[in-house]
Symmetry: C2
Subunit: 118 residues, 2 copies
């Protein structure tokens, strides 16, 4: 029983190493917290502080770096509300939302293959 159809296999086979779609996705999801940030935002927009808490407190610097990178790649938007203290909300763009297919595939694989040792 195949886990992959011939159509999919062909796509994977014929794509060159350079500029392959897989590499493009890897580039976007690069960095220690990046993928998890997207996962958090898939359940709705979140504030900076909420993200930090949900992720288990990465350093402010690191979280800022990742958010800025994702913003630059148009995966999410950053909205500052002119209040005091400031409120900043991050929300996925349509492009960011579309990463849910990748995230969900990861989620399923991870749950179907619990780690044996390690």
């Amino acid at each position: 029983m195949e886990t992959i159809g011939s159509e999919q296999r062909d796509l994977l086979r014929t794509t060159s190493s350079e500029g392959c779609g897989v590499e493009r996705t890897l580039k976007v999801l690069d960095g220690k917290w990046t993928t998890l940030i997207v996962r958090e935002l898939l359940s709705g927009p979140k504030r900076f502080g909420d993200l930090r808490t949900a992720l288990g407190s990465p350093s402010a610097k690191t979280l800022t770096d990742r958010l800025r990178a994702l913003e630059h790649q148009r995966i999410l938007t950053r909205t500052v509300y002119a209040e005091v203290p400031p409120r900043v909300v991050y929300r996925l763009t349509e492009e960011g939302e579309s990463l849910s297919d990748v995230l969900y595939a990861m989620l399923r694989w991870g749950e179907e293959h619990p780690l044996t040792d390690d």
Copy 2:
């Protein structure tokens, strides 16, 4: 139009940050070349040298490290043929093959979202 069904969204929402399936998958696919190695092997078993060429010549040390890690996690098997010069073949296990769902999702996303600048 939603890109994710309510069933999927619920799964992503209710999973805690620790031990989430996404994190498990990230752990397996960790490292610079890891995901690309799996992509290469999805089109069939490959020798060490073939992998190096296909990937664009990562250092031997790095490739060895990644292959050993994937072997340890039972994503692939390493078969040594007692010939001279030696021939070593790497092939995905069933578990490794099942990563095709993740890889294919990445491939599609990457192809549907070519980079604008960067």
